[in-house]
Symmetry: C2
DNA sequence: TTGTACGCGTTATCAC
DNA sequence: GTGATAACGCGTACAA
């Protein structure tokens, strides 16, 4: 409401509002302004335990600025992504939050005209989009350093991936830690994986078919670690007596595992909050103040790590 | 597009669309129609493990009908609820999905004019709003029946609540099962709880201060069961050797507990799908076809239940 | 300081 | 079948 209205008229207006129960029509407003007050959040999997807390952060920040959060669930299906692209094209969303480094719009991805956007977790493929994540290298480094401090020297890395930048960064932290401790790299100790529980189980099977076993499994995320623990238990081994295991993310169930999982915590709510704040800033200023915000991940020590023991063969 | 346009003009129109990349402006459309294509989903806690899969169901169904899902997180705070009420009043949402049986709009709840709404899990307080949930009585009955079949006769019920209808219904199932087995009710075996992990721990402490222990703990939900298991383990007991435990919900981490939790599965994605379908039906027809949809919950047998053993005192 | 008129992009209506 | 026109409610610019 402008400043230059006289107090008398302002009073009358307010009274009229009270009497009629007037509320401004957001549709008309958006139409006139050519911009809505909705932010579209597109994630491949809403059910991902890593997602929900991020959403809380996103939502709180948006709401406190009068924005609403529209959610989109693509399941890595380009067809679904396209439907959300329609949302954007029809001006239903003023901004876009993207998860896991991909533009989910299939073959139209390259030509799509996007509103101001911010990525979460990883920089978005083909760049130009600022993002908020965690310092993966530093986080992974904390995990290796712990294992090395406990006396491990044969540490496997489970879940390397060329397509997920966060994963390859975590591997970089792993290698840096090994290097700092004077442990030479051993490629046989690095196994690929897509971050699923199954990929963790599979990695254990593969390693047991080789002649050289690690004493510790450093996993690219908690899901992988859970798979590794299942695989190890199935073979009758005890954790951490026989093998140590670390994860990354600090997913809700990490604390309920037996043994509870030592892992690296992502400050999820804070990531969501920062990502939304950055997007809203973009929306008003037009220019990104920062192109990359990396939060500090913390080591959470639980019970899945101990000093290495003699391994039975 | 109307039927009565000639093929020749239709062709020209489609060509023009292809050339200019026209997309209909949803704002103008909503303004003209006086109705948006957004559904507001309000939940007290987005991070609730019970919530995310429901959301998937809601979202899929909505999207396939051209609707978007707007999410609201109230944290049981009436103030936040009011902000979402604004969304509704400004015509930003055509319909409303409510969780856990309460209207989250504080003191304005009674006077609020609501759009077509559907409840999830429990009927919404003060009624008139159709809802989709699970047959809690039948579900609880499956759990007691299993315990009774294993030979238990002293079965505690943890998590009774007068405010949450779903919980009191689960208690009804519990009592019906006891009754059917000719086991008289014992009020000392029924403990209150709000469905949190802490309430489960507390219940264990309370029971151990009494003179008569159960051989099994039937919990109102998985969180409570997790708390009970923690409490029991802390006291050095083995599950299910010393005590059996059942939950309700089949939350994702239930399978990762040690022992894995025997529980009652809620078909979450299906609940979400049905709730949204019902709402969309309401939106077009105006009249609710059904006022209550109860889905069938399934018993998931895992490792937290066995026959009762002699209890050490 | 206040009032008024226009246009945002649709859809619905009505005359052609 | 087709084309023109009004109206949805708001923000803005300009006249009073």
């Amino acid at each position: 409401m402008p400043e230059k209205v006289a107090n008398s008229t302002r009073l009358k207006v307010n009274q009229a509002i009270a009497v009629t129960g007037y509320t401004t029509n957001a549709m008309a407003r958006s139409l006139r302004l050519g911009r809505s007050n909705m932010i579209l959040v597109v994630a491949p999997d809403i059910g991902d335990p890593n997602f929900s807390n991020i959403l809380i952060g996103l939502e709180n920040e948006a709401r406190s600025h009068g924005y609403g959060v529209l959610i989109g669930h693509t399941q890595n299906d380009a067809q679904r992504g396209l439907e959300y692209l329609k949302f954007l094209n029809s001006n239903q969303a003023a901004g876009l939050i993207l998860f896991t480094g991909i533009l989910p719009f299939g073959h139209q991805t390259m030509t799509a005209r996007l509103p101001p956007s911010v990525g979460v977790f990883e920089p978005v493929f083909n760049g130009g989009i600022p993002y908020v994540g965690v310092d993966d290298i530093a986080g992974a480094r904390k995990a290796v350093d712990l294992l090395i401090a406990e006396g491990h020297r044969k540490i496997a890395f489970i879940g390397d991936s060329r397509t997920r930048l966060a994963y390859s960064r975590r591997r970089m932290g792993y290698e840096a830690g090994l290097d700092a401790a004077g442990i030479g790299p051993d490629l046989r100790m690095v196994l690929e994986g897509d971050g699923t529980i199954e990929s963790g189980r599979l990695a254990v099977e593969q390693l047991f078919m080789r002649d050289r076993l690690p004493t510790a499994f450093m996993c690219v995320n908690d899901q992988t670690a859970i798979g590794v623990m299942i695989g190890l238990k199935t073979r009758g081994y005890d954790i951490p007596e026989d093998f140590s295991v670390t994860g990354f993310d600090d997913v809700p169930q990490a604390v309920f595992m037996t043994p509870s999982l030592t892992t690296i915590r992502q400050p999820r709510t804070a990531i969501g909050k920062h990502a939304m704040a950055l997007l809203l800033e973009l929306l008003s200023d037009g220019q990104p103040a920062e192109t990359e915000i990396l939060l500090r991940p913390d080591l959470v020590v639980r019970n899945s790590v101990s000093a290495p023991a003699r391994i039975r063969r």
